[in-house]
Structure formats: C-alpha cells, structure tokens
C-alpha cells in the first residue's frame, strides 16, 4: 500500500477547474519531485493535500495509509502526519516561535491520544534542530516569522517539520526566494529528515533544488494532472528543454 494515493482527483476553485483527474502514488521512504509550468496546479495539489478550505473536490480521492483524508480538517490531517511547508509562510505576531511549536506538537499528540511532550524533551528537540538550521535562540523567542527574512521563514518551516516529524511532508516551492547559501541550509535540513518511514513531495518549478534534494522519482504536471513520470534525470531534461512540450497535453 502506498503512503499517499491520489486517484482521479478533480478540484475546482470558485467553479474553475484546476485539477483534472490527477493520479499520484508516493511510497514510504520515497522523495517524489513534482515539476511543472506555472498554472499546472502544483500548489493547488499541495493545498488540497493539507486541507485548505475553498478547494472543492468534485471527483476522486486522496488516501493516506489507505484512509481517505478528504473529510478531515487540516488539523486532523496534520495529526495523521501531513505537513505542508508553505511557499509563503505566514507571520503570526504576538505568538513566540517556541510557544507555537509546542502548541502545535501537543495539539497533534492530543489528537493522537498521546501525552504532552515534557519541557526538557521539547527543548532538546528544538535546540538540536535549530542549531543545524542556523536558527538562533533569539529567533525562537521572536514571534513566528515576524521580521524574518525570506530565508529565515523557509528555515523556520523546516524547523517545524523536524519538530512535528510528519509521515508525509509536502514542500511547496521551498526554493523560491532563496539564495544559494540559504538553499543549501534548507536542503540539508530536508535531507536530514529523509527516512524509510517518511515520504516527501517536493514541488518545484526549477531543477536547481533537486541538485540538493535528490528525488527518487520525478512527476511532471501539466493542466491539472501528472503527464509524465521518470527518474531524477527527467528533471535535467526539463531544465534543458523546458515545459513547452507539455503545453498541448491534457487539454
């Protein structure tokens, strides 16, 4: 059984069709890259997986470990192990990063019927991960993403991912707005989280990120569905030839 199974997914926003019969399977331990031109529905897929309101699924299903998640709220999905690293992380003034992480972790544990994590354990998890990601104590004390640079916000997403230890991590254009040094730090943080129990879906427009997060499989999306699947060399081919060849497909 695949960890993530998307079958014939049709999604509309305000009556406009965005996903058009998308099929996708991601296996446990796999890192799957999703590439595609602007407007192909990559970010919509990410949001639908995480359960963002406003996206209407008109047909098809999304299953995590064989269980449909479409009726679940975003918080329930998170507790089941879905994590979305946002393309544009949101600022949360007045809520310290540390408090936020702890609230999120304990909320998930509560939903799963687990006890709250102890303060020393929690501090240790955060401190270890933060140091790898170059996140200072000062940043942890500051309000979530407030006054953070683009790179700091992306690193903070990876920190959250590391603390929450998801089953399925979806990274939506994590490379956008990052310079090469920041990209390396973020990719390194992601690579540390690769594990046989976890699957990752790495959404990107460019091949560059995949030099650092090397995928097991590459899917190409166009016009709301997966039109081609291949190995990591497919990313290089796309970089060389562009997306033009997929413009006519799935029309």
């Amino acid at each position: 059984m695949s960890l993530l199974e998307v079958k014939n997914l049709h999604v509309e926003i305000d009556g406009k069709k965005i996903l058009n019969g998308l099929d996708l399977s991601v296996e446990q331990g796999q890192v799957a890259a999703i590439m595609g031109p602007n407007g192909s529905g990559k970010s919509t897929l990410a949001y639908v997986l995480a359960g963002k309101p406003g996206y209407e699924v008109t047909e098809g299903d999304v299953k995590l470990d064989g269980e449909s998640v479409l009726e679940m709220g975003p918080d329930e999905r998170a507790a089941k192990g879905v994590f979305l690293a946002f393309q544009y992380p949101v600022e949360v003034p007045g809520v310290a990063t540390m408090t936020f992480l702890r609230t999120a972790l304990n909320a998930q544990r509560k939903t799963r019927g687990q006890p709250e994590v102890s303060t020393p354990d929690f501090m240790k998890i955060v401190r270890d991960t933060a140091s790898h990601l170059g996140i200072s104590q000062d940043m942890l004390r500051r309000a979530v993403n407030v006054g953070f640079s683009g790179g700091e916000k992306k690193r903070n997403e990876i920190l959250q991912m590391a603390v929450l230890q998801p089953r399925l991590a979806v990274l939506d254009e994590t490379d956008s707005g990052l310079d090469i040094d920041a990209l390396k730090i973020v990719a390194d943080g992601v690579n540390r989280l690769r594990s046989p129990e976890r699957a990752m879906v790495v959404i990107t427009h460019y091949q560059r990120l995949l030099n650092y997060i090397v995928p097991d499989v590459v899917h190409v999306m166009a016009k709301g569905k997966v039109v081609r699947t291949g190995g990591k060399e497919l990313a290089l081919e796309l970089e060389a030839k562009g997306y033009a060849q997929y413009a006519g497909e799935a029309a």
């Binding site: 406003g54 998170a78 946002f86 949101v90 003034p93 999120a104 909320a107 939903t111 929450l164």
Partner: protein, 441 residues
Amino acid sequence: MNAEIHAMKTPAEQALSAAYEGARATLPGKGGIASLRADAFRQFEIRGLPHRRVEEWKYTDLRALMRDAYPIAPPPDAAAKARAKKAADILAGVECRRLVFVDGVFVPELSDLAPEVGLTIGSLAEALANSGKLGDALAAEHVGKTFATDDAAVALNTALMGDGAVIRIAKGAEIKRPIHLVFAAGTDKPSSVFIRSLVVVGEGAKATIIEDHDSGNAQVNTALELSVGDEAQVEYFKLTRARALHVASLLASIGARAVFNSFAFTSEASVVRNQNFIRFAGEGTHGGIRGVNLLRGKEHVDTTLLIEHAAGHCESRELFKSVLDDSAHGVFQGKIVVKPHAQKTDAKMMTRALLLSDEAEADNKPELEIFADDVVCGHGATTSAPDEGLKFYLMSRGIHEKEAEALLIQAFIGEAIEEISNETIREALMFAARKWLGAGG
C-alpha cells in the same frame, strides 16, 4: 451670551449642575483654583454634555448615553479600601511602585511611598488645597495649562476634579520601577468620580507611568496632564476596565529630542472614551501612540486622538487595534495636525478592527490637517473578519480550530503589543488578552 446656553438640560446635566453647586465649597483649592473651576463649569454649561452633532463626539453621544449623573462618590471607608485592595491586578507580576487611589481618592497606606532620588509624589487634592501657600506652586502652574482645549469632558473634569496623582520627576532622574497608578473602585453604589493627575517629567529624565483604571460601577471622568521635558524618555500606559461610563483625557506636551510611547489597553469596558490630546512641542522627538481594545457584548470604546505636530523633525507612529465580538462598537477618530513650521514631520497612523461577529461595528475616522509643505504623513484603516489564510496555517500544524482562532486574534493584537519595549509589561498584557480570549467561551 444667554443664547448659547441651551435651555433644555437633560437630567444628567441637571444632576451635574447640582453636584457642582453642592461640592463647590468643599472641592480642594481656593482663589485661582476656585475661579479656574468656575470658568470651566461655565464652559461646560454653555456646551452641555457632548452629543452626536458635536463632530469630535459624533460616535459617543454622552447626552444619550448618560441617562443620569451619579452623585459624587464619598471618600472611601475601610470597607471600600479593603475591596480595592482585593481587586484583580493585570500587572501583578510586574515589579512596580504602586500608588493606590480608591474611588478617586489617594490612599497613602495602600501606596508605596519609599523615597527615591529625583521622584516626588503627592496627591492633587493636597496640592490644590495648598496651592495658595508657598512651596506648592506646581498645581497652580500646571493644572489646565498642558494642552488647552475647549472639550466639554475636560472642562467638566476641571470643574469637579477631586484628587489624583501629582508626580514630579527631576531633571536627569532615571526612575527604575514603573509608577503604577492604580485607580480602583471601592464602592459598589452608583457614584461619580472626577480624577485629575499631573505628571511633570524633567529634562533628560526616564520614567514609565501606568494609569490603571478599574472603574467598577462608577461614572468616571479622569484626566492626566503630562509634561515631558526635552530629551526625556517616557513610556506611558493606560489600562481600562469599566462597567459603567469611563471618560478619560490625556493632555500631553512633549519636549524636544524626547521619546514618548503610549499604550492603551482596554477590556471589559461598558462605555469608554479615551481621548488623547498630544502635542509634539519640540524638534526631533519620537512618539509611538498605540493601543488595543478588546470588546464583546454591547461594549463601546471610543479612541480619539488629536496629535499636534507643533515642531519640525518629529516622528509619530499611531497604531490601534480593536477586536470586536457580539454587537460591540469600536470607534477610532485620529487627527494629525501639522503646524506650518513643523517641517520634516513624519507621521503614520494606522487603525485596524477585527470583527468576530456580523453585528459588531467599527467606525474609523482618520484626519490629516497639514499646514507644512515638507512632510511625510499617512493614514490607513482596515476592518476585516479573521484571516482565513492565517487560520489555515495554524491548523495545518495540527492546532485545533478554536485554539487557532484564539491564536490568530492574539496575532492580530500582537502586532501592536509587540511594540512595547518593557518585556514584563508586554507579557502581562498579552496574558490579559489571552485571558480575555479564554473568557469568550
């Protein structure tokens, strides 16, 4: 002249006239102070209680809101003092110098009067009573002179002012602990309280002043005159809780190259009007005028600012945030005036209301009056429902819907509270806000 006096007095206006006539002989201060009171009361009688056709009071019609004026509160007895002592303190965890006023009257035995170099503390009633004598010219010098206004609520306050704090901070003094003026309710009976405080901060001095009102069931009219000397640094807070009617006026004059930050925090407020008259009187001063209002039920809070840039090269930032639930009503009127010679003024005003219910109402009225030609001034106002994008972000991390909603309200007001530099006060206010959110059920 008679034509200006409106003939039909409301019951509240009649009661106020009777209160003034009855108290005139016993109110503190003779001579100059007595005539100041008489003039002020005449001013008030000419105007009457402000109502909706008075532009500055358009949204807070006191003539309609005050069905009656309660009798002036008697001096607090032992029971009143005991009750005031037990009252909840938002700043309990903050190391402060507490000065306690019960039903508007200074209570030395509940106050921390430990001597400190550069700090003089007194009661206004005493200062006014002694103002004719040598040695306490402060009251006579300052009362009513910090910021001249013809506002009716200020006039009524001047006519009937009973007691309040008189604080003087010497030139260059750095007062370590915040001075926490606790205005507590002692009596539960409907009564009215008229408080007037004077704070004079000398050149280069540093201090934090907190005006903390829990007005209970009283009708409170309070005013604070704040004079900030050149190069002084003042952090001023006003915390307000009121179950009846609370009208507060800040009359402030800020000197040159000073730093002045104010923060108003209002919760559990039946009808509150916070009016701020602030003049930047010297060049090169930085000011931050901010606040948060948390309202539910039928609560009504009106924040009215008159920020006068009378000198050039000053920067002012105004930011007010209101959270409105049920059928609460939030009002923001902000006027920035830049005088002709106040070149290089940089003023930015922003007000945001978060509506948690369809019945809640926010009125925003920003105004700019600019007479100088080389300035940067701007204002903005937004009124919106909770941010769904932010809510999704929080929920996508596993946080349940209710907690996510509470966090996003916290985030909304956090933008203003984050600006408070004193960490313990900032945390105490954030904690009070969370408590308010929790109480919403």
